[in-house]
Protein backbone atom coordinates (compact mmCIF):
# COMPACT_ATOMS: atom_id res chain seq x y z
CA UNK A 1 0.00 0.00 0.00
CA UNK A 2 1.25 3.48 -0.84
CA UNK A 3 0.60 6.06 1.84
CA UNK A 4 -1.47 8.90 0.40
CA UNK A 5 0.39 12.20 0.78
CA UNK A 6 1.37 15.29 -1.18
CA UNK A 7 4.71 13.62 -1.91
CA UNK A 8 3.20 10.37 -3.21
CA UNK A 9 0.75 12.38 -5.33
CA UNK A 10 3.62 14.36 -6.81
CA UNK A 11 5.67 11.22 -7.43
CA UNK A 12 2.75 9.41 -9.08
CA UNK A 13 1.91 12.54 -11.03
CA UNK A 14 5.34 12.58 -12.66
CA UNK A 15 4.92 8.87 -13.44
CA UNK A 16 1.58 9.42 -15.18
CA UNK A 17 -0.49 7.99 -12.29
CA UNK A 18 0.11 4.46 -13.57
CA UNK A 19 1.66 3.21 -10.35
CA UNK A 20 -1.19 3.48 -7.85
CA UNK A 21 -1.94 0.06 -6.37
CA UNK A 22 -5.48 -1.13 -5.64
CA UNK A 23 -6.90 0.53 -2.52
CA UNK A 24 -7.82 -2.82 -0.93
CA UNK A 25 -7.51 -6.54 -1.59
CA UNK A 26 -10.53 -8.36 -3.06
CA UNK A 27 -9.79 -11.52 -1.06
CA UNK A 28 -10.90 -15.12 -1.53
CA UNK A 29 -12.29 -16.84 1.56
CA UNK A 30 -10.00 -18.96 3.71
CA UNK A 31 -11.47 -21.91 5.62
CA UNK A 32 -11.30 -20.35 9.07
CA UNK A 33 -10.97 -17.03 10.88
CA UNK A 34 -10.95 -15.71 14.44
CA UNK A 35 -13.81 -13.32 13.71
CA UNK A 36 -16.21 -13.15 10.78
CA UNK A 37 -18.09 -9.90 10.22
CA UNK A 38 -21.19 -10.27 8.07
CA UNK A 39 -21.80 -7.16 5.98
CA UNK A 40 -19.25 -5.16 3.98
CA UNK A 41 -20.78 -1.75 4.57
CA UNK A 42 -19.51 1.07 6.75
CA UNK A 43 -20.26 -0.60 10.07
CA UNK A 44 -18.82 -3.99 9.11
CA UNK A 45 -15.62 -2.52 7.68
CA UNK A 46 -15.19 -0.15 10.64
CA UNK A 47 -15.66 -3.05 13.05
CA UNK A 48 -13.04 -5.11 11.22
CA UNK A 49 -10.63 -2.16 11.19
CA UNK A 50 -10.96 -1.47 14.92
CA UNK A 51 -10.78 -5.21 15.75
CA UNK A 52 -7.43 -5.31 13.98
CA UNK A 53 -6.11 -1.92 15.09
CA UNK A 54 -7.42 -1.56 18.66
CA UNK A 55 -7.52 -5.19 19.70
CA UNK A 56 -4.76 -6.81 17.66
CA UNK A 57 -6.96 -9.56 16.24
CA UNK A 58 -5.21 -11.02 13.21
CA UNK A 59 -7.55 -13.30 11.28
CA UNK A 60 -10.66 -11.31 10.38
CA UNK A 61 -12.98 -11.69 7.40
CA UNK A 62 -15.68 -9.30 6.21
CA UNK A 63 -18.32 -11.10 4.13
CA UNK A 64 -20.34 -9.02 1.69
CA UNK A 65 -23.18 -10.56 -0.32
CA UNK A 66 -23.01 -7.91 -3.04
CA UNK A 67 -20.25 -5.37 -3.60
CA UNK A 68 -18.40 -3.32 -1.02
CA UNK A 69 -20.40 -0.30 0.07
CA UNK A 70 -23.41 -1.15 -2.10
CA UNK A 71 -25.92 -1.18 0.76
CA UNK A 72 -26.98 1.55 3.11
CA UNK A 73 -23.52 3.14 3.37
CA UNK A 74 -23.82 4.11 -0.30
CA UNK A 75 -27.49 5.12 -0.08
CA UNK A 76 -27.72 7.55 2.82
CA UNK A 77 -27.74 11.36 2.85
CA UNK A 78 -24.25 11.58 4.46
CA UNK A 79 -25.27 13.58 7.55
CA UNK A 80 -23.09 13.38 10.68
CA UNK A 81 -24.36 14.83 13.99
CA UNK A 82 -24.60 14.17 17.72
CA UNK A 83 -27.57 16.39 18.61
CA UNK A 84 -29.39 13.96 20.89
CA UNK A 85 -31.52 14.52 23.97
CA UNK A 86 -30.93 11.32 25.94
CA UNK A 87 -27.64 10.89 27.80
CA UNK A 88 -26.87 7.44 26.39
CA UNK A 89 -27.34 8.57 22.79
CA UNK A 90 -25.44 11.83 23.41
CA UNK A 91 -22.41 10.04 24.87
CA UNK A 92 -22.28 7.45 22.09
CA UNK A 93 -22.74 9.82 19.14
CA UNK A 94 -20.38 12.41 20.64
CA UNK A 95 -17.70 9.72 20.88
CA UNK A 96 -18.44 9.14 17.20
CA UNK A 97 -18.17 12.87 16.45
CA UNK A 98 -14.69 12.91 17.96
CA UNK A 99 -13.69 9.91 15.83
CA UNK A 100 -15.09 11.68 12.73
CA UNK A 101 -12.97 14.79 13.30
CA UNK A 102 -9.76 12.77 12.96
CA UNK A 103 -11.00 10.00 10.70
CA UNK A 104 -9.31 11.18 7.49
CA UNK A 105 -5.94 11.22 9.28
CA UNK A 106 -6.56 7.90 11.06
CA UNK A 107 -7.42 6.14 7.82
CA UNK A 108 -5.02 8.14 5.59
CA UNK A 109 -8.05 8.57 3.33
CA UNK A 110 -9.95 11.78 2.72
CA UNK A 111 -13.51 11.14 3.88
CA UNK A 112 -14.33 14.77 3.10
CA UNK A 113 -15.72 15.39 6.57
CA UNK A 114 -17.22 18.86 6.43
CA UNK A 115 -18.39 20.43 9.70
CA UNK A 116 -20.86 22.75 8.03
CA UNK A 117 -23.44 22.53 10.82
CA UNK A 118 -26.83 20.85 10.98
CA UNK A 119 -29.76 23.22 11.47
CA UNK A 120 -33.12 21.92 12.73
CA UNK A 121 -35.98 24.28 11.86
CA UNK A 122 -38.87 24.93 14.25
CA UNK A 123 -42.23 25.92 12.84
CA UNK A 124 -44.20 26.23 16.08
CA UNK A 125 -43.57 27.63 19.54
CA UNK A 126 -43.96 24.14 21.01
CA UNK A 127 -41.20 22.85 18.71
CA UNK A 128 -38.99 25.76 19.74
CA UNK A 129 -39.48 24.81 23.40
CA UNK A 130 -38.53 21.21 22.61
CA UNK A 131 -35.44 22.40 20.71
CA UNK A 132 -34.38 24.63 23.61
CA UNK A 133 -34.72 21.65 25.92
CA UNK A 134 -32.68 19.42 23.62
CA UNK A 135 -30.09 22.16 23.10
CA UNK A 136 -29.71 22.54 26.86
CA UNK A 137 -29.42 18.77 27.27
CA UNK A 138 -26.71 18.71 24.59
CA UNK A 139 -24.72 21.50 26.27
CA UNK A 140 -24.97 19.74 29.62
CA UNK A 141 -23.42 16.75 27.86
CA UNK A 142 -20.59 18.91 26.49
CA UNK A 143 -21.99 19.02 22.95
CA UNK A 144 -22.20 22.28 21.00
CA UNK A 145 -25.71 23.62 20.41
CA UNK A 146 -27.14 27.05 19.69
CA UNK A 147 -30.72 28.20 19.57
CA UNK A 148 -31.19 30.56 16.62
CA UNK A 149 -33.81 33.22 15.95
CA UNK A 150 -35.19 33.94 12.49
CA UNK A 151 -32.70 36.71 11.52
CA UNK A 152 -29.79 34.40 12.40
CA UNK A 153 -31.32 31.62 10.29
CA UNK A 154 -31.83 34.02 7.40
CA UNK A 155 -28.16 34.96 7.57
CA UNK A 156 -27.09 31.33 7.67
CA UNK A 157 -29.26 30.17 4.76
CA UNK A 158 -30.39 33.19 2.72
CA UNK A 159 -32.36 31.09 0.22
CA UNK A 160 -34.59 29.71 2.98
CA UNK A 161 -38.06 31.25 2.95
CA UNK A 162 -38.09 32.86 6.40
CA UNK A 163 -41.05 35.12 5.62
CA UNK A 164 -44.30 34.99 7.57
CA UNK A 165 -46.06 34.01 4.32
CA UNK A 166 -44.10 30.74 3.99
CA UNK A 167 -46.14 27.55 3.72
CA UNK A 168 -44.64 26.45 7.05
CA UNK A 169 -43.45 29.71 8.68
CA UNK A 170 -40.14 29.34 10.51
CA UNK A 171 -40.10 30.56 14.12
CA UNK A 172 -36.54 29.56 15.04
CA UNK A 173 -34.07 26.74 15.02
CA UNK A 174 -31.41 24.69 16.76
CA UNK A 175 -27.98 24.26 15.22
CA UNK A 176 -25.11 21.95 16.05
CA UNK A 177 -22.19 23.82 14.41
CA UNK A 178 -19.76 20.84 14.63
CA UNK A 179 -22.16 18.55 12.80
CA UNK A 180 -22.05 18.25 9.03
CA UNK A 181 -21.54 15.76 6.24
CA UNK A 182 -18.95 13.24 5.05
CA UNK A 183 -18.45 11.54 1.70
CA UNK A 184 -20.22 8.20 2.25
CA UNK A 185 -18.39 6.14 -0.40
CA UNK A 186 -15.06 7.45 0.87
CA UNK A 187 -15.95 6.25 4.37
CA UNK A 188 -16.56 2.73 3.07
CA UNK A 189 -13.41 2.74 0.93
CA UNK A 190 -11.29 4.40 3.60
CA UNK A 191 -12.19 1.76 6.17
CA UNK A 192 -11.79 -1.00 3.58
CA UNK A 193 -8.31 0.20 2.62
CA UNK A 194 -7.17 0.66 6.22
CA UNK A 195 -8.61 -2.72 7.30
CA UNK A 196 -7.14 -4.49 4.28
CA UNK A 197 -3.72 -3.01 5.09
CA UNK A 198 -3.98 -4.59 8.55
CA UNK A 199 -4.64 -7.99 6.99
CA UNK A 200 -8.44 -8.11 7.03
CA UNK A 201 -9.90 -10.25 4.22
CA UNK A 202 -12.73 -8.41 2.43
CA UNK A 203 -14.72 -11.05 0.57
CA UNK A 204 -17.38 -9.90 -1.89
CA UNK A 205 -20.23 -11.82 -3.54
CA UNK A 206 -20.26 -14.07 -0.48
CA UNK A 207 -23.74 -14.41 1.02
CA UNK A 208 -24.31 -16.17 4.33
CA UNK A 209 -26.88 -18.93 3.85
CA UNK A 210 -26.64 -20.64 7.24
CA UNK A 211 -25.18 -19.92 10.67
CA UNK A 212 -23.45 -23.01 12.08
CA UNK A 213 -23.55 -23.97 15.78
CA UNK A 214 -22.23 -26.80 17.93
CA UNK A 215 -24.34 -29.10 20.11
CA UNK A 216 -24.32 -26.52 22.94
CA UNK A 217 -25.58 -23.85 20.57
CA UNK A 218 -22.34 -21.88 20.29
CA UNK A 219 -21.26 -20.38 16.97
CA UNK A 220 -18.86 -22.49 14.88
CA UNK A 221 -19.02 -20.71 11.53
CA UNK A 222 -21.14 -19.87 8.54
CA UNK A 223 -22.20 -21.57 5.34
CA UNK A 224 -21.89 -19.17 2.43
CA UNK A 225 -22.35 -19.06 -1.33
CA UNK A 226 -18.53 -19.36 -1.48
CA UNK A 227 -18.26 -22.32 0.86
CA UNK A 228 -18.10 -23.03 4.57
CA UNK A 229 -16.11 -20.63 6.77
CA UNK A 230 -15.28 -21.53 10.37
CA UNK A 231 -15.19 -18.90 13.12
CA UNK A 232 -16.13 -18.86 16.78
CA UNK A 233 -17.20 -15.24 16.71
CA UNK A 234 -19.59 -13.65 14.24
CA UNK A 235 -20.63 -10.01 14.17
CA UNK A 236 -23.76 -9.01 12.26
CA UNK A 237 -23.58 -5.62 10.52
CA UNK A 238 -26.35 -6.10 7.98
CA UNK A 239 -28.73 -3.16 8.21
CA UNK A 240 -32.14 -4.14 6.90
CA UNK A 241 -31.35 -7.87 6.77
CA UNK A 242 -30.62 -8.41 10.48
CA UNK A 243 -33.94 -10.12 11.16
CA UNK A 244 -33.30 -12.62 8.34
CA UNK A 245 -29.88 -13.61 9.69
CA UNK A 246 -31.12 -13.74 13.28
CA UNK A 247 -33.95 -16.01 12.12
CA UNK A 248 -31.26 -18.55 11.08
CA UNK A 249 -30.58 -19.03 14.80
CA UNK A 250 -34.23 -18.57 15.88
CA UNK A 251 -33.56 -15.22 17.51
CA UNK A 252 -36.57 -12.91 17.30
CA UNK A 253 -35.61 -9.22 17.32
CA UNK A 254 -37.34 -5.92 18.11
CA UNK A 255 -36.88 -4.76 14.50
CA UNK A 256 -38.86 -4.08 11.36
CA UNK A 257 -37.22 -3.60 7.96
CA UNK A 258 -38.32 -0.35 6.32
CA UNK A 259 -37.61 1.57 3.16
CA UNK A 260 -36.16 5.10 3.05
CA UNK A 261 -35.71 7.14 -0.11
CA UNK A 262 -33.36 9.95 -1.04
CA UNK A 263 -32.83 12.00 -4.17
CA UNK A 264 -30.52 14.57 -5.76
CA UNK A 265 -31.09 17.46 -8.12
CA UNK A 266 -28.91 18.49 -11.00
CA UNK A 267 -25.72 20.24 -9.80
CA UNK A 268 -25.78 24.01 -9.31
CA UNK A 269 -23.31 26.58 -8.01
CA UNK A 270 -22.73 26.65 -4.23
CA UNK A 271 -25.88 28.02 -2.60
CA UNK A 272 -26.30 26.14 0.68
CA UNK A 273 -23.32 25.65 3.00
CA UNK A 274 -25.09 23.97 5.91
CA UNK A 275 -27.51 21.07 6.39
CA UNK A 276 -31.13 22.18 6.84
CA UNK A 277 -33.71 19.85 8.33
CA UNK A 278 -37.37 20.30 9.04
CA UNK A 279 -39.02 17.55 11.03
CA UNK A 280 -42.44 19.15 10.57
CA UNK A 281 -42.13 19.36 6.79
CA UNK A 282 -40.44 15.89 6.65
CA UNK A 283 -37.38 16.99 4.73
CA UNK A 284 -33.62 17.44 5.10
CA UNK A 285 -31.42 19.16 2.54
CA UNK A 286 -27.73 19.66 1.92
CA UNK A 287 -25.54 20.47 -1.07
CA UNK A 288 -22.79 18.12 -2.16
CA UNK A 289 -19.34 19.27 -3.21
CA UNK A 290 -20.40 18.54 -6.81
CA UNK A 291 -23.27 20.99 -6.39
CA UNK A 292 -26.21 18.57 -6.29
CA UNK A 293 -28.85 19.25 -3.67
CA UNK A 294 -29.55 16.09 -1.68
CA UNK A 295 -33.07 15.64 -0.32
CA UNK A 296 -34.15 13.04 2.19
CA UNK A 297 -37.46 12.53 3.91
CA UNK A 298 -39.54 10.06 5.84
CA UNK A 299 -39.96 6.33 5.48
CA UNK A 300 -42.43 5.04 2.94
CA UNK A 301 -44.18 3.72 6.03
CA UNK A 302 -44.52 -0.05 5.63
CA UNK A 303 -42.10 -2.98 5.87
CA UNK A 304 -40.10 -3.49 2.70
CA UNK A 305 -36.91 -5.12 1.47
CA UNK A 306 -37.23 -3.60 -1.99
CA UNK A 307 -34.44 -0.95 -1.89
CA UNK A 308 -36.68 1.15 -4.11
CA UNK A 309 -39.60 3.32 -3.16
CA UNK A 310 -42.75 4.82 -4.55
CA UNK A 311 -43.34 8.20 -6.19
CA UNK A 312 -45.78 9.73 -3.63
CA UNK A 313 -42.96 9.98 -1.10
CA UNK A 314 -40.64 11.58 -3.68
CA UNK A 315 -43.35 14.14 -4.45
CA UNK A 316 -43.91 14.78 -0.74
CA UNK A 317 -40.19 15.39 -0.07
CA UNK A 318 -39.83 17.67 -3.11
CA UNK A 319 -42.93 19.65 -2.10
CA UNK A 320 -41.45 20.13 1.36
CA UNK A 321 -38.05 21.14 -0.06
CA UNK A 322 -39.62 23.69 -2.38
CA UNK A 323 -41.77 25.12 0.40
CA UNK A 324 -38.58 25.71 2.43
CA UNK A 325 -36.45 26.86 -0.53
CA UNK A 326 -38.72 28.34 -3.24
CA UNK A 327 -35.63 28.96 -5.40
CA UNK A 328 -35.18 25.19 -5.82
CA UNK A 329 -38.52 24.79 -7.60
CA UNK A 330 -36.95 24.99 -11.05
CA UNK A 331 -34.25 22.40 -10.45
CA UNK A 332 -34.69 19.00 -11.98
CA UNK A 333 -34.25 15.79 -10.03
CA UNK A 334 -31.40 13.71 -11.38
CA UNK A 335 -31.72 10.50 -9.39
CA UNK A 336 -33.85 8.95 -6.70
CA UNK A 337 -33.02 5.76 -4.84
CA UNK A 338 -34.02 3.76 -1.81
CA UNK A 339 -32.35 1.76 0.93
CA UNK A 340 -33.63 -0.58 3.60
CA UNK A 341 -32.94 -0.28 7.30
CA UNK A 342 -33.65 -1.86 10.63
CA UNK A 343 -36.22 0.27 12.39
CA UNK A 344 -36.02 -0.58 16.07
CA UNK A 345 -38.88 -0.48 18.52
CA UNK A 346 -37.60 2.58 20.39
CA UNK A 347 -35.68 4.35 17.62
CA UNK A 348 -32.30 3.57 19.21
CA UNK A 349 -29.75 0.98 18.08
CA UNK A 350 -28.68 -2.37 19.50
CA UNK A 351 -25.02 -3.31 20.01
CA UNK A 352 -24.70 -6.34 22.26
CA UNK A 353 -23.92 -9.97 22.72
CA UNK A 354 -26.86 -12.27 21.99
CA UNK A 355 -28.22 -15.36 23.75
CA UNK A 356 -26.26 -17.34 21.11
CA UNK A 357 -22.64 -17.64 22.36
CA UNK A 358 -20.29 -16.10 19.80
CA UNK A 359 -22.95 -14.12 17.94
CA UNK A 360 -22.76 -10.32 18.26
CA UNK A 361 -25.37 -7.88 17.12
CA UNK A 362 -25.06 -4.40 15.62
CA UNK A 363 -28.52 -3.40 14.41
CA UNK A 364 -31.52 -1.13 14.69
CA UNK A 365 -29.89 2.04 13.38
CA UNK A 366 -33.10 3.40 11.92
CA UNK A 367 -32.29 6.54 9.88
CA UNK A 368 -29.03 7.20 11.69
CA UNK A 369 -26.58 4.47 10.79
CA UNK A 370 -24.18 6.49 8.67
CA UNK A 371 -23.13 9.01 11.32
CA UNK A 372 -22.68 6.14 13.77
CA UNK A 373 -20.20 4.29 11.52
CA UNK A 374 -16.96 5.01 13.46
CA UNK A 375 -18.50 4.74 16.95
CA UNK A 376 -20.48 1.59 16.12
CA UNK A 377 -17.38 -0.08 14.67
CA UNK A 378 -15.32 1.02 17.67
CA UNK A 379 -17.83 -0.28 20.24
CA UNK A 380 -18.77 -3.49 18.42
CA UNK A 381 -15.09 -4.34 18.00
CA UNK A 382 -14.62 -3.90 21.77
CA UNK A 383 -17.73 -5.97 22.50
CA UNK A 384 -16.50 -8.81 20.26
CA UNK A 385 -12.88 -8.71 21.46
CA UNK A 386 -13.78 -8.71 25.17
CA UNK A 387 -17.03 -10.68 24.90
CA UNK A 388 -18.51 -7.86 26.99
CA UNK A 389 -20.24 -4.66 25.87
CA UNK A 390 -18.26 -1.43 25.65
CA UNK A 391 -19.39 1.04 28.36
CA UNK A 392 -20.87 3.38 25.74
CA UNK A 393 -23.20 0.69 24.37
CA UNK A 394 -24.37 -0.88 27.63
CA UNK A 395 -27.60 1.16 27.32
CA UNK A 396 -28.03 -0.29 23.78
CA UNK A 397 -28.50 -3.81 25.20
CA UNK A 398 -30.83 -6.22 23.45
CA UNK A 399 -32.71 -7.00 26.67
CA UNK A 400 -33.61 -3.36 27.36
CA UNK A 401 -37.06 -3.88 25.87
CA UNK A 402 -37.90 -6.70 28.28
CA UNK A 403 -36.50 -4.58 31.15
CA UNK A 404 -38.53 -1.53 30.15
CA UNK A 405 -35.31 0.47 29.71
CA UNK A 406 -36.03 1.70 26.19
CA UNK A 407 -34.22 4.72 24.73
CA UNK A 408 -37.04 6.53 22.97
CA UNK A 409 -35.80 10.00 21.90
CA UNK A 410 -39.19 11.00 20.51
CA UNK A 411 -41.44 9.17 22.96
CA UNK A 412 -43.12 7.53 19.99
CA UNK A 413 -43.58 4.08 21.54
CA UNK A 414 -43.08 0.67 19.93
CA UNK A 415 -44.15 1.68 16.41
CA UNK A 416 -40.98 1.53 14.29
CA UNK A 417 -42.23 3.64 11.40
CA UNK A 418 -42.76 6.61 13.74
CA UNK A 419 -39.15 6.91 14.93
Amino acid sequence: MIRYSALSLLRQGFAGHGGWPRAWRDADPRPDYDVVIVGGGGHGLATAYYLARNHGIKRIAVLEKGWLGGGSVGRNTTIVRSNYLLDANAAFYEHGMKLWTRLSRDLNYNVMFSQRGVLNLAHTDAQMEAFARRGNAMRLNGIDAEVLDVPAIKQLAPLLDTSAEARFPIVGGLIQPRAGTARHDAVAWGYARAASALGVDIIQRCEVTEILRDTKGAITGVETTRGRIRAEKIGLCVAGQTSRLAAMVDLPLPLETHLLQAMVTEPVKPCLDTVVTSGAAHCYISQTDKGELVFGGDLDGYPSYAQRGETPLVEHVCAAAVSLFPAFSRLRLMRTWGGVMDMSMDGSPIIDRTPVPGLYLNAGWCYGGFKATPAAGWCLAHTIAHDAPHDLVKPFALDRFARGATLDEKGAGPTPALH
Partner: protein, 95 residues
Protein backbone atom coordinates in the same frame (compact mmCIF):
# COMPACT_ATOMS: atom_id res chain seq x y z
CA UNK B 1 -47.73 2.76 -6.49
CA UNK B 2 -49.27 -0.22 -4.75
CA UNK B 3 -53.00 -0.67 -5.20
CA UNK B 4 -54.51 -2.10 -2.04
CA UNK B 5 -57.89 -3.81 -2.30
CA UNK B 6 -60.02 -2.54 0.59
CA UNK B 7 -62.61 -5.26 1.26
CA UNK B 8 -65.29 -2.56 1.55
CA UNK B 9 -64.24 0.12 -0.95
CA UNK B 10 -62.33 -1.82 -3.59
CA UNK B 11 -58.81 -1.14 -4.90
CA UNK B 12 -57.38 2.23 -3.84
CA UNK B 13 -53.87 3.74 -4.05
CA UNK B 14 -51.53 2.96 -1.17
CA UNK B 15 -51.47 6.57 0.08
CA UNK B 16 -55.08 6.06 1.26
CA UNK B 17 -53.87 3.47 3.77
CA UNK B 18 -51.67 3.16 6.80
CA UNK B 19 -49.70 0.12 7.94
CA UNK B 20 -50.50 -1.19 11.41
CA UNK B 21 -48.32 -4.21 12.19
CA UNK B 22 -48.50 -7.95 11.67
CA UNK B 23 -51.75 -9.89 11.17
CA UNK B 24 -53.19 -10.50 14.66
CA UNK B 25 -53.79 -14.13 13.64
CA UNK B 26 -49.99 -14.59 13.40
CA UNK B 27 -49.19 -12.29 16.32
CA UNK B 28 -51.92 -12.86 18.92
CA UNK B 29 -52.35 -10.71 22.02
CA UNK B 30 -51.33 -12.67 25.13
CA UNK B 31 -53.61 -13.11 28.11
CA UNK B 32 -53.53 -10.26 30.61
CA UNK B 33 -51.71 -12.43 33.16
CA UNK B 34 -49.32 -14.00 30.64
CA UNK B 35 -45.62 -14.00 31.66
CA UNK B 36 -43.38 -11.03 30.86
CA UNK B 37 -41.67 -12.92 28.00
CA UNK B 38 -44.98 -13.32 26.17
CA UNK B 39 -45.74 -9.60 26.49
CA UNK B 40 -42.22 -8.63 25.40
CA UNK B 41 -42.68 -10.82 22.35
CA UNK B 42 -46.08 -9.27 21.60
CA UNK B 43 -45.16 -5.62 22.13
CA UNK B 44 -41.60 -5.51 20.79
CA UNK B 45 -40.59 -8.48 18.66
CA UNK B 46 -41.47 -8.80 14.98
CA UNK B 47 -40.89 -11.55 12.43
CA UNK B 48 -40.20 -9.04 9.62
CA UNK B 49 -40.81 -11.55 6.79
CA UNK B 50 -38.90 -11.16 3.54
CA UNK B 51 -41.28 -12.08 0.74
CA UNK B 52 -44.87 -13.08 1.45
CA UNK B 53 -46.34 -11.33 4.51
CA UNK B 54 -49.75 -10.93 6.15
CA UNK B 55 -50.18 -7.46 7.59
CA UNK B 56 -52.72 -5.25 9.26
CA UNK B 57 -53.63 -2.13 7.26
CA UNK B 58 -56.22 0.59 7.75
CA UNK B 59 -58.13 2.47 5.08
CA UNK B 60 -57.23 5.71 6.85
CA UNK B 61 -58.42 8.08 4.11
CA UNK B 62 -61.47 6.00 3.28
CA UNK B 63 -63.77 3.78 5.33
CA UNK B 64 -61.27 3.63 8.24
CA UNK B 65 -61.65 -0.13 8.63
CA UNK B 66 -58.75 -2.31 9.74
CA UNK B 67 -58.19 -5.42 7.64
CA UNK B 68 -55.51 -7.92 6.59
CA UNK B 69 -53.42 -7.49 3.43
CA UNK B 70 -51.34 -10.27 1.90
CA UNK B 71 -48.35 -8.58 0.35
CA UNK B 72 -44.84 -9.35 -0.85
CA UNK B 73 -42.25 -7.25 0.99
CA UNK B 74 -39.68 -7.60 -1.81
CA UNK B 75 -41.77 -7.05 -4.96
CA UNK B 76 -44.58 -4.99 -3.31
CA UNK B 77 -47.06 -7.25 -5.11
CA UNK B 78 -50.41 -7.36 -3.31
CA UNK B 79 -51.99 -10.83 -3.38
CA UNK B 80 -55.25 -10.02 -1.63
CA UNK B 81 -57.01 -8.84 1.48
CA UNK B 82 -59.69 -9.96 3.90
CA UNK B 83 -61.64 -8.47 6.82
CA UNK B 84 -60.72 -9.22 10.41
CA UNK B 85 -62.90 -11.72 12.23
CA UNK B 86 -66.03 -10.01 13.51
CA UNK B 87 -65.78 -7.03 11.14
CA UNK B 88 -68.85 -5.83 9.20
CA UNK B 89 -69.32 -7.81 6.00
CA UNK B 90 -68.05 -6.15 2.84
CA UNK B 91 -70.61 -4.77 0.43
CA UNK B 92 -71.50 -7.21 -2.32
CA UNK B 93 -71.19 -10.32 -0.15
CA UNK B 94 -74.35 -12.35 0.29
CA UNK B 95 -76.30 -11.16 3.28
Amino acid sequence: MMLIPCPWCGPRPRVDFSYGGPDPADHPRPADDAPLEAWTRYVYERDTPKGSARELWRHAAGCRQWFVVERDTVTHEVAGSHPLPGAPRPVGEDL
